[in-house]
């Protein structure tokens, strides 16, 4: 597909439906977006010690993230240099080496080929003929414990790429009494029959809850209060989705370079927001004050962000210790992995809150999430209709306001500014000369 014809697909307040439905464009996205951008692959706490590893994907590329013996984090392509089999099957573990099941080629945790059978059978040393071992991902960098990698040798630094979104990661980590977080409590892997962009567009969409989540809002409103019960937080989150329009209109919504965006907070529930008064948060607040002092803790807890999006594969809730990684599978198939985090040094009750919240917000059987997934599928299906070519994204267009640090703010919190911004980044990636 010619770059000129791609340019016409994204216009100031609308996008062509093929951006969501064309398999050829999806293939290009895997090269030009997922093959270039910094992608989040996980968190340092998943590989605390030398030899630790976990497997994941960068776009569709299967990778192993390891902690090498020198203490550095490496990202290796999970493909034997010999015949191409995956060399690591486990989701996570600890090892000295990866041994291919097929012919026993053996690699270190830095990917270096360190053994193979019958070496005398080769004219040249196989390491020379195969690039030395497992292909390694050219760039790896870490911000506040979050591990990113890029399949491109060149491009912006991670710090430049993240820009003002660094503050969302700072918020995530500063909330921990020990100033560090760790992955805890298992990983949800939910999937839907729709394009990968739909989930990122939804996470800063503040008009959808009243409609998509109408049934869980209604069911929660019928429910008597249950202070102290496990379910209390989940029911309260359902109720928060039913906030009145003026709350959503007044919520902050900011966008930055490379397609990123973040939302201010719409929560005012004392049981959900640790900055508000509730006995459950008292012990946590004391622990946080030990590191930051009273004012410092108040400043950290006073930071109120909801979803932050790092385009093209990450969406997280710093305030609620949730992070989601988006894995495109096909033009109409996507998996999303949702992780919970423990605030190091916080009382165990904070992790219990995180889990109770996670089950209801990110759980595969969640009364909230299942309605989002249903709507992504209906959108994907509707976009297959050929009589209409355009998706309209005009809400708030022309009302953006320049803000600090080069960010733009939506005229109101219900603007579709974040979707226009994501598609502007999409167009830049897709039409840039390699």
């Amino acid at each position: 597909m010619k770059r000129e014809s791609i340019k016409g697909l994204v216009q100031p307040d609308r996008v062509h439906r093929s951006v969501y439905t064309d398999p050829a464009l999806f293939e290009l996205e895997m090269d030009r977006i997922f093959g270039r951008a910094w992608l989040i692959v996980g968190h340092e706490s998943q590989v605390p010690n030398p030899g630790d590893f976990f497997t994941t994907r960068m776009g569709r590329e299967p990778v192993i993230v390891t902690r090498h013996t020198d203490g550095s984090v490496r990202v290796l392509v999970n493909r034997c240099a010999h015949r191409g089999a995956r060399v690591c099957e486990a989701a996570a573990g600890t090892t000295r080496e990866f041994v291919c099941a097929y012919h026993g080629w053996t690699y270190g945790t830095d990917g270096r080929l360190c053994g193979l059978p019958l070496p005398q059978g080769y004219e040249r040393p196989p390491a020379e003929s195969t690039g030395g071992g497992l292909a390694s991902v050219p760039r790896v960098d870490i911000y506040r414990g979050f591990v990113f990698a890029s399949l491109a040798a060149q491009g912006p630094t991670l710090a430049d790429f993240l820009g003002p979104l660094r503050a969302s990661f700072d918020d995530f980590v500063e909330r921990a009494p020990e100033g560090a977080v760790e992955v805890a409590g298992g990983v949800f892997k939910h999937a839907y029959q729709g394009n990968w962009k739909l989930v990122l567009e939804n996470h800063n969409d503040t008009v959808h809850p009243a409609f998509v989540h109408a049934s869980s809002i209604w069911a929660a409103r019928e429910q008597p209060a249950g202070e102290g019960a496990y379910s209390d937080i989940g029911v309260r989150q359902m109720l928060q989705n039913g906030a009145p329009w003026d709350v959503w209109e007044n919520t902050g919504l900011w966008v930055a370079g490379y397609g990123h965006s973040w939302m201010g907070d719409y929560h005012d529930d004392r049981r959900l927001v640790a900055a508000l008064e509730h006995p459950a948060f008292a012990e946590y607040r004391v622990a946080l004050e030990r590191r930051l002092g009273r004012e410092g803790a108040a400043r950290v807890l006073g930071e109120r962000r909801f979803n932050s999006i790092v385009y093209p594969n990450c969406s997280f809730m710093s305030q609620f210790r949730q992070l989601r990684i988006v894995h495109p599978i096909a033009v109409d198939r996507t998996a999303v992995y949702a992780y919970s985090f423990r605030l190091k040094g916080a009382p165990e009750g904070m992790l219990r809150d995180t889990i109770a919240f996670s089950n209801v917000v990110n759980g595969t059987g969640s009364p909230i999430l299942t309605d989002d997934l249903e709507v992504y599928e209906r959108t994907q299906s509707g976009l297959g209709a050929r009589r209409s070519d355009w998706v309209y994204l005009g809400r708030g267009h022309g009302q953006d306001v320049p803000d600090r640090g080069g960010a733009l703010r939506g005229g109101t919190g219900t603007s579709e500014i974040h979707i226009r911004n994501q598609l502007a980044a999409w167009l830049e990636y897709m039409t840039a000369e390699a």
């Binding site: 805890a184 409590g185 298992g186 990983v187 949800f188 892997k189 939910h190 999937a191 839907y192 029959q193 409609f211 998509v212 109408a214 049934s215 869980s216 209604w218 069911a219 929660a220 019928e222 429910q223 008597p224 249950g226 019960a229 496990y230 379910s231 989940g234 029911v235 359902m238 998996a335 919970s340 165990e348 992790l351 219990r352 889990i355 109770a356 996670s358 089950n359 209801v360 990110n362 759980g363 595969t364 059987g365 009364p367 999430l369 299942t370 309605d371 997934l373 249903e374 709507v375 209906r378």
Partner: protein, 162 residues
């Protein structure tokens, strides 16, 4: 290890589980909810052999209150993922009283569930464990745990009740 239980108890437990399945397969969700004790939990763990629902995530972990919200949600005209409600067939077998203590029985069973919705049929397999309590109204569910064989897989949204 199976507990030594009488033929009458085994028969009573089987009838209870079949009745529970019948209520679900006929959309009688309020009556199904009525089988759960006030302090009941309904749990679909995320991880194989998961031991704790409070410090690790679950595909579903509902106390009675959240289970009521879940069932009520089906009645709303804009419950998008539940409209139409999935049609199901619960096939229960290998019913096995594991333990009888006081007024409670711990019962294992296997479940094969066919689910149909929106031109799509899904098949679920699960090891199920009920904790059943004898009350004046008959047996009631004090806890139900459903271990899906594919709980750790990449899964589309789950709205059917197991």
């Amino acid at each position: 290890m199976a507990a030594a239980t009488s033929v009458e108890t085994r028969s009573e437990v089987e009838q209870f589980l079949y009745h529970e399945a019948w209520l679900l397969d006929h959309g009688r969700l309020d009556e199904w909810l009525g089988l759960f004790a006030a302090d009941a939990t309904y749990w679909i763990p995320l991880q194989a052999s998961q031991s704790d629902p409070l410090t690790a995530s679950s595909i579903v972990y509902d106390d009675r209150r959240l289970l009521e919200v879940r069932v009520r949600q089906f009645q709303h005209p804009r419950a998008h993922a539940r409209m139409p409600a999935p049609r199901t067939v619960h096939q229960i077998s290998n019913v096995h009283v594991l333990e009888a203590e006081g007024d409670e029985l711990r019962v294992a069973s296997t479940l094969v569930l066919l689910e149909y919705r929106h031109e799509r049929q899904r098949v679920w397999g699960a090891l199920v464990e009920h904790r059943l309590r004898r009350t004046r109204e008959g047996l009631r569910i004090a806890a139900k745990r459903i271990d899906l064989v594919n709980s750790e897989a990449e899964l589309d949204g789950i709205v059917c009740l197991f």
